[in-house]
């Protein structure tokens, strides 16, 4: 279990200023739409505020990233619950102002990533967006490095299959 930082608890305001955008960018890899991604990160900071702004972590950024992963997971779970209650909301469609992102192949890849199981999506985000070492991904996801490699390998294989022979 993490031990509290003895002398200098993380400054939430500074963490927010330094990492908010990057955390939203991480979250958007997991929940797809930027609005939900921002909500996820906001809730992380709200929870930390509710705890008086102090939390226990050897590495505050890693702690925040883990919290974002958990928040995104909750968001996806909540969506699953909502789908049980209601008809599904139409998927997020990229707006015209994201035209730079709207390259056909990237859209296909992102749509394919969205079809992956949550764990594989998380591995993709941590490995290929944050470009973290396998060991750190494993630590963040509380799984073994082998499981990280397996998840990434299976994910890439799935993407390759989904995307067809363009990359095969």
């Amino acid at each position: 279990m993490d031990q509290p930082l003895a002398a200098a608890p993380p400054d939430l305001r500074a963490l927010f200023a330094d990492h908010y955008l990057d955390l939203v960018r991480l979250a958007v890899q997991l929940v797809d739409d930027p609005e939900s991604a921002e909500d996820v990160v906001q809730e992380v900071f709200l929870h930390l505020q509710a705890r008086g702004g102090s939390f226990t972590a050897d590495d505050p950024l890693r702690y925040l990233r883990t919290a974002v992963l958990n928040g995104a997971r909750s968001t996806l779970r909540r969506r699953r619950t909502l789908r049980a209650f209601r008809r599904p909301r139409p998927m997020h469609v990229a707006a015209a102002d994201t035209a730079s992102l709207a390259k056909e192949e990237q859209q296909r890849i992102l749509a394919s990533v969205a079809q992956l199981p949550p764990r594989q999506r998380e591995v993709i985000a941590l490995r290929y967006y944050l470009e973290l070492p396998v060991a750190e991904v494993a630590a963040m996801l509380q799984i073994t490095p082998g499981a990280v490699s397996a998840s990434a390998s299976v994910a890439l294989k799935s993407l390759s299959a989904i995307l067809g022979d363009r990359h095969a």
Binding site: M1, D2, L12, F16, Y20, L21, R25, V28, Q29, E38, Q42, E43, F45, L46, Q49, T56, T66, A67, N70, R78, R80, A84, F85, R86, R87, P88, R89, P90, S100, L101, E105, Q106, I109, L110, V113, P118, R119, I124, Y128, Y129, E131, L132, P133, V134, L141, Q142, I143, T144, G146, A147, S149, A150, A152, S153, V154, L156, L159, L163, H167, A168
Partner: protein, 418 residues
Amino acid sequence: MPDNIDPIEPDPRLRPDGDGLPDPRIEQAVRSAVRARADSVTSASLHRPTYSERRNSGVRPILLTAAAVAAVGGLVIGITLATHRGAEQATAPLNTTATAAAESSRTDSKQPVSPITKSTSPISTAPVDRPPGPISASPVGIHWILAEVNGPKGSTTVRPSIDASLELMSSGVAVLSDGINDMNGRYELTGGQLSFPGNVTSTGAGYAGTDKGQLAAVSAVGTIVSKSQFTLSISGTVMTMAGKGFVLIFHNGGPLGSLNTDASTSTTSAKQSSDGPASSSVDLSSITASQPGLEQVEGVHWVLDSFTAGGGTTDTRAFPAASFEISSSLIGWDYTCGGGTFHYSAVGTTVRIGASAGMPPHTCSQVPAGQGPRAISAMFDATAFTVSASGATLTVTAPAQTLIFHKDGVARLYWVNN
């Protein structure tokens, strides 16, 4: 690729023939795609790019839309502390007819809704406290989408994308959403008067934004479930609810989906069949108490705070969180990387674990890591345990340990679609 990035190794269990190394072209394509998506989020595109303390909510409102207020003997209603502030801020005057109709046509609505027929509901001139008249059709079995909030200080359109809604089941249970949190509770509908005499459970998400429509929705839905009485009136596809200084306008969003238990509502059944197969088959009773002795426990997401074993108490309020939920037929535990669901039987407050009902969808193959997951895993290894709820705290007494949980909103039903 940075130098410190070690390559993904193939998993020999998956590729016994040894080939199948990740295609570097796929890796590069994925890397480019996720980077492009990340780059599409910029500082300018953020809605809430600045940090504000909770105590400054008067400047930048931070709503806690579901403060879990404990009440012995029942589940709890948790509704915003700042709803009236939200209502006061949600006072932008607008052309209700044009704006609401325009909003109704937005493509992000769950399904097509008819434009508001304003002539049937002259809300712009009616005093907000005057009931709009008796109910003329049944509101039960319909997904009602909140479209407009008229309060003492003005009128605010609620965009369909906010997804604030009201559903009244014939079973007597209502499901509401203010776009931030979901709530459910028992309602009474007598002579066009709608009220929630009992407790309402709610998820506990916060909203830190300033969207007037969202704030109005939070305020309105909070008022609906705050033991107020509202008078309903339905005209065409519009339902008007009036009470406690508010007139709320809902659109008919179509019949309820698979959760609808209104077999007697012929129009609903017919519409459902024309909509094709239901997306899921969840029984709403799974989130309502039905097991005698477990009324306070069912339908709640319980998060493990600590456990006592061997004379020592261990605080488990750290990642990964461990939690459990119980419905009228299933019990499940959950942690970051897995969990399990089981059938169960209960005698009073003693729960006996039965056959496995599967794993939550987000499981991975790893054993539980952390004190919390290990403790809750051991709890489910016991054949039986007793539960005792008091307000927002639940005590589980198992043969080798005692576990303390706190309520964290309504059950996530993570076995749904399992």
